[in-house]
Symmetry: D2
Subunit: 399 residues, 4 copies
C-alpha cells in the first residue's frame, strides 16, 4: 500500500483534521507536503459536503446543505520540480472506499439551495442512499437496479496563478451581476463563510478566503470537471500555472451519469485515491496546451453492449421557444424524455432523475450544427436493470 | 438482397429520378410506396447535397453549395397500419456504398454559406475526400489516419402532422426574427427554391413548397439527428404523428464525429440502407413517448480501447465572457483544445477540424450543473493514427 | 467496388466455372491471375461444398455430402514479388453475401461421413438453414435466437513448397496407418476423386491430383483454420514458401462458434471478399516466423457484455477415464455441459449443438497445466436469445 | 467492509494460522464457519504455495518449491441450507491485495519439479516478480510491459461427496499407473506429506490426509480451474454435492494468461475476496447441471482493441508427428510461435514464456474438427507494451 500522504478522520470536519485541506482555489494556500516525480502515494478524501449528509431516509440534510462548505479537498500537494509551462502527469492508479464507509448518497438539491439540471421540474429536495457491494452498488431508494461503479474523483486540479484567479473572479462576478438575485444563483462568488484554507490563519486566512475561487465549477485548472470516465487507470495531463503545481482532489463518486444532473451529484462518498505523478518539462508549449487538462481514460471501466438512447432537441419544453443550437436544453430534453420512459416501468420522476444522475449513463452531443436544433442523447445501459426494460414487440417474428 | 423500393441514379438530380424523393418535411408529400409491418426492403439514397460535390481537390463546390437543395431524401414510405399514437419500429439491418461510388466528402462550409461549429476560427471553405476500402477509409487530404466507418443515415424521420409543422414554422420564424440578417442564419425557413416534393406538381407543389419545413435541424419527428451511432443493427422507435407514418431517410455518412462539427458534415456519401419495420400499437402512451424517437444502437460499431480526451468549459474563447452552463461553448472549446494538440503533431487547423468532423470521436457532456461552467469533452481514439500521438514521458520509469 | 479478380456462377460446379479454382493444396496448381503489392481486389467464393446443400428442411444432403469435393477455393493468386522468406500481408477489407444468396447452412455430419466434435453423442445428420437480414441472422430451425455475424473466410492460405507438401502427406499417412479403418477417418489423404485443380489437365492433373493435400486441416500455410475472428478489417501475415506465394481462400462463414464443432461447420455460404495485399521482404526471419500465419483481428466484431460460461475437464464422459491435460476432451465436455443447459430452456440436443457451432461462442483454454485436468470453457453471449436464459434467483434480494 | 470470516497472518504457514485452512479436498474437513444465503463476507487467502516464494531475483525458491504444500485454501465455509442437488450461487464482489503485500510472483517450474506447459523447451526454473500499482502491474524482470490485472481466485470450489472423491482417486491412480515414474508426474495422488486439514487432528487427520484429493487439478467441484476471467463481479453457480456445500478458495492471481502456461502460474499473490452467496434449491436438475460449475463473468475486465494472434496446429514440434485433433499440442505450438515473435523484439525465451503466463492473453480453440489438425490461437494485447510491437510495413501506403 502506498504511503498515505493525506489522512482524514470521517468523524471530524475538514478544518479540524490533523492536517486540514481546503475548499477554495488560491495559489497561496500552503501545500500540505511535497512529492517527487514518479512518486506513488495515497490520498484520503472526505465526501464533497464534508459529512453533511447521513445514511438515512430523510432528505432534509440534502435540503439544508451548506454549499459554502463545498468541496472539501485533500491537498494541495507540491510537486517538486514542476514549473509554469510544464505538464503535470497524474496517474489515478486505484480508488476505493474507506473501511466502514462503504456507502454513498445522491440528492436532488432544492431549487432554493442550488437546484439541479431539472430544477424547474423537480424543485424539491430528495435523497437516495447507495450501498456498495464490492464493485457493485444498489439503493434501497431506487429498487430494481444494480450496477458496477466507475469510481472517480469528481474534482482534481492544480492551483491557479494569481492572474488566473483574478480573471476567474472578474468574469464570474460579471455573470452574477446580470441577475444577482436569481434562484438558483448564476455562480458562487468568493465568500469567507465556511472557508477552509489548510494551515492558513489570521490576516492571510482573511485575504485568501476573500479572494479564493469557489470550487463548484470546472475551470482552466481542471477542478470540478465531474468526468465520470476519469476512473482507475486514467492518466491526466495538467497544465502547470505556478511553481509546484499544487495538486488537490476530492469529491469522489462511486458512480455518476454524464452531466451529473442532480448536482448532488454522483454517488457521493469519502474514499482514497492512489496517485503517481510525473512531469513533462515545457509540455504546455510542446503539446499546444494553454488551458484545461486532457487525459487518457483507464482500461477497466465496464463496457455495456446494450443501451436505450433518448434524444432531445433545443426547444424549451416550458415555452416551446426555439433556441439556437443550445446543447444544454437539448440534453435537458433528452433527460426528460428518458425520465418519462422510466416512469412507465414504475419509477417516480424523482427516482428516475436520481437514476440518471448516478448510473453509468452516457450523455452525448450528437449534432451541434444543424441550425437551429442541437441534438443531444442520453444512453442508458439496459443490463443495470433486473428486468428487460426494452419495448416489447408482441407479435414479434424472426427479427 | 431485399427488394429495392427506392432506386437512385447518381447521374441525375433528385427531381429527375424515376421516382423522385423530397427535401422538405410536409405531411402532404405523397408516399412513394407502402410497406407492411415486418417487411424487409432496401432504400437507395443520394448524398445530402444531391451530387453537388466532386471527388477532386478543389473546395469551390463546398464553398458554393446550394443549401436550399438539401437534404434530398428517399421516401416517404407509407407503413400500412401505422396510426398516430403508435410507435414505428425501424431496424437498420445494413448500410453500404453504391457500386462505383466508394468515396465520400467532408467540407468546412464558408462562413457566408452556413458556416460550421468553428466558423469564427475557420471561416473559409475546405474539403477532404475520403476513399473507402471495405470497412476502412483514408483521405489523401488528411494523411496518417485510417479508421473503420460507423456508417449511418444522418437523417431518418417520419412526417409531421399539419399541427406539428405549423408549430415548427412558427417557432423557427420567431427565432430568425430576432436577428434576421445574421450570417450564418439562425434557422433555414421554408422556401420554394430548389424544393423537391416527390410527385407533387402544380398548385399543390406550390403550397407544400411554401409550407414545408427545411430538413436541416432534427425535430420531434427525428430527422437530421446526425447521431453517429445509429449504425448497422440499430433499432429505432419513432412516434407516429400521421396515418402511414411516412418514413424518409438520407444523408448517409460513412463516419462522423459527435457533433458533426464541420456541418458538411460527416463523410457524406450516397448509398443503400436495408430496413425492417414493425409497429407497436399505442406505443407512444404505453412508453411515455410524446416527441423524439429513441433507439438501441447496433452491436458492430468499433470499440476503441485508448483515447485522448480534451476538455472544454463555457467561457467564450474570443471575449473571455463567462457563460452560464453553456454546453455549446464548452464543446466548442474542447474541440479547439483538441485541434491545438493535433496541430503539434503536424496537421493544419483545417485538417484537424475536418478530422474531428469525420473520425469516430466522442463528444460528451461531462458536467452540466457546476455553475457557471458546463464541462464537455471530446475523445479521440488514438489507434486511428499511424503513429502514437500520446505525449511522451522521456525519462519514463516502470509506470 | 474493387475489380473482381475471381468470379463464380453459383449455378455451376467449381470445375465448370469460367476460371475454375481448386480443392487441393499443391504448389503446381497454376495461378488464376497475378496482383501487385498494395492492390485491392475482390474475390468471389462458392460455399465450401461446391453447392451440395440446399435451402430446405431435409438433412439428407448433409448426410450424403461428398467430402472429396471440399473445400472449393478461389485462387491461387500470384503476388508479384513475393519470395520464400517474405511475409505476405493480407488485409480482409470487407466480406459479404452474393446478391440472391443471402442464406447459409449448418449441418451435423453423420458419423459415417466425417462426423463432428460430438459424433458419439449425435451421430445422425442434421441441418439448419440461416437467413441473413443485413448484419443479423436467424434460423427457422433454431427459433428464439438472433445474432450479428462475424463473417470470415474459414479457409485462407498460401501454397506449400514441394518439400512441405511431401512432409504433410507423409505425416498424415502415418497417422491414418495407425487405424486405417476408423470411422470417422483420422485424416483425409490425397485422392484424385472429385479433385479440382484450376486449369490443369491431362497427366499434370493426374500427378497433382494424386499428390495434392486435402484442404480439410489447417497447416503451416494457414488453410482451413476456421478462426471465427478473422473477420472484416483483419490483417494477416503469411509466411511465403514458394515464389508468388499463391494465395487462395474460400469456406466463407457468416458466423461460427469457436471450434466449429459441428464440422459443417459455421454458417456456410458463398460470398465475396475484398482483399488488400502487401509484402514484408525477409519478414519471416525478421519476425521469427517459420510456420503458421499470425494476424491482427479487425475492429468491428461485436463485443458482448454478458455471457454464460460452461466449463469442462479432461475426463472422458463415456468411460470416466482420466486423461492427461487433454484440451480436446475438456472442450468437448464444456460443450456437452452447455448443451445440457440449453436443453432445459427448450432446445433439442441437436439444436443446441448446431447453435454452439454457429453462434459467436468463445472457446477458451483456461488451464492447461494443472495435471491431469485441462480446463476449457465455452462462453455463450446471452443477448443472442429472445429471452433471458440466465438462472433465476427467485427470492432475490438487492444483489 | 464486510466481516472478515477468514483471516490470514502472512508471517505464518497455513497450519499455524489461528484458524487453519486446508490443502486437500475431502468432505470431512470441518467447516471453519457457516454463512447464510445472501450473506456478504470477506475471505483472506495466502498465496497458493503458502509463502514459499520470496520477492527477490533468485529463482531457487521456485526450483525447490514443495508442491505437496499446495494449494493452501481458505475455508471450507458451510452454507446454511445448501443440500445436494442445489446450485450454490457465489458472487465475487471484489478482490484485492493485502496491505503491505502488493506484489506477486510468476515462475517456471523446473522439469524435475512439476514442469510447465513448455517444459521440454524451458526445463530450468525461472522467476519474475511483479509489483502492483493500483490496477496495474510491472515487473523488473520483464521490462517494457505494463498491464491492468484481471484479478481472480485461481481456485474456488465446493467439497466432493465421498463417492465423488473415491472416483477421483481411482481414475487418477489409473492414469499414474500407466507411467508411474514419469517426470513430471501424470497426476499428484493423495499424500499425507505437508497436508493441512483445518482443525482435524489425530486419526481423523491421518485418514483424511491419506484420502484427500490433491488440489492441483480442476474437477467436477470446480477447484483449480485457473479461469482468468473469473474476476470481480463474476457470478458462479456450483453444483452442491454434500450438505452445507463447503466452499473453499485460494490461489489468487493478480493476472494470468489463458492456460496458465508456466504452471506457477499467473501472478501469484495472497489477498482478500469479498463474496456473496445464495442458493437455488434443486437447481442442478432444473438447469441440467451434473458436474462442473458455470458462471457469468464480471463487467469490469479490460477489453483490449488490438491484438496480435498466433496460431498453432497439432503437429509435434519435436518429432514432426501428426497428432489427431490434439488441442494441447496446437496451443503449445501457438505459444511457441508467439515466443519466437517476442524474441525478435528483445525478450529472452524465458521472459516471453513468463509474459504469456502472466499477461491477459487469450487462448482460443479455433478449430477442433478439421481432421487431423486442431487449430488453437493465442492473442496478445498490443497495448500492454511500451512500444508498438506490430510488424512494420516500411513503404506503407494509405492502407
Amino acid at each position: 500500500m502506498p504511503d498515505v500522504l493525506f489522512k482524514v478522520d470521517l468523524t471530524k470536519p475538514m478544518d479540524e483534521q490533523e492536517t486540514p485541506g481546503h475548499n477554495r482555489w488560491h495559489p497561496d494556500i500552503p501545500a500540505v507536503t511535497s512529492v517527487n516525480p514518479r512518486d506513488v502515494f495515497r490520498v484520503e478524501c472526505k465526501d464533497w459536503t464534508d459529512g453533511q449528509v447521513q445514511n438515512n431516509d430523510d432528505p432534509s440534510d440534502i435540503r439544508d446543505v451548506n454549499l459554502n462548505r463545498v468541496h472539501v479537498l485533500s491537498g494541495p500537494f507540491w510537486i517538486n520540480g514542476a514549473e509554469p509551462g510544464d505538464l503535470l502527469v497524474v496517474d489515478i492508479l486505484d480508488i476505493g472506499a474507506l473501511p466502514g464507509a462503504e456507502w454513498g448518497f445522491n440528492g436532488i438539491f432544492a431549487r432554493e439551495n442550488g437546484g439541479g439540471f431539472l430544477t424547474e421540474h423537480y424543485p424539491e429536495a430528495a435523497k437516495s442512499i447507495w450501498d456498495f457491494y464490492g464493485i457493485y452498488t444498489t439503493s434501497r431508494h431506487i429498487p430494481g437496479v444494480k450496477f458496477p461503479g466507475i469510481i472517480h474523483p469528481g474534482l482534481i486540479g492544480v492551483a491557479p496563478s494569481h492572474e488566473m484567479l483574478d480573471k476567474w473572479n472578474k468574469r464570474e462576478q460579471a455573470l452574477v451581476s446580470k441577475d444577482p438575485h436569481r434562484v438558483p444563483t448564476l455562480a458562487n462568488l468568493p465568500t469567507p463563510d465556511s472557508a477552509v484554507l489548510g494551515s492558513l490563519t489570521g490576516a492571510e486566512f482573511e485575504r485568501v478566503a476573500r479572494e479564493g475561487a469557489r470550487t463548484v465549477p470546472p475551470r482552466e485548472n481542471g477542478g470540478n470537471c465531474d468526468i465520470k470516465n476519469l476512473s482507475k487507470g486514467s492518466r491526466i495531463y495538467f497544465p502547470v500555472f505556478i511553481e509546484g503545481a499544487k495538486l488537490s482532489l476530492g469529491d469522489i463518486h462511486f458512480s455518476q451519469g454524464d452531466g451529473e444532473i442532480t448536482f448532488c451529484g454522483g454517488i457521493e462518498m469519502p474514499g482514497w485515491v492512489d496517485l503517481h505523478v510525473d512531469i513533462i518539462k515545457g509540455g504546455m508549449a510542446k503539446y499546444g496546451i494553454v488551458n484545461n487538462p486532457f487525459f487518457q481514460p483507464g482500461p477497466v471501466e465496464p463496457h455495456f453492449s446494450e443501451y436505450l438512447v433518448f434524444e432531445g432537441i433545443s426547444v424549451d419544453e416550458m415555452t416551446g421557444e426555439q433556441l439556437y443550437l443550445d446543447a444544454h436544453v437539448a440534453y435537458r430534453r433528452a433527460c426528460l424524455n428518458a425520465i418519462e420512459y422510466l416512469k412507465t416501468i414504475g419509477y417516480t420522476g424523482e427516482q428516475a432523475y436520481m437514476l440518471l444522475g448516478t448510473a453509468p449513463v452516457e450523455g452525448r452531443i450528437a449534432g451541434i450544427v444543424d441550425v437551429p436544433n442541437a441534438c443531444c442523447t442520453i444512453a442508458i445501459p439496459t443490463s443495470i436493470f433486473d428486468n428487460d426494460i426494452r419495448p416489447k414487440l408482441d407479435g414479434r417474428g424472426v427479427l
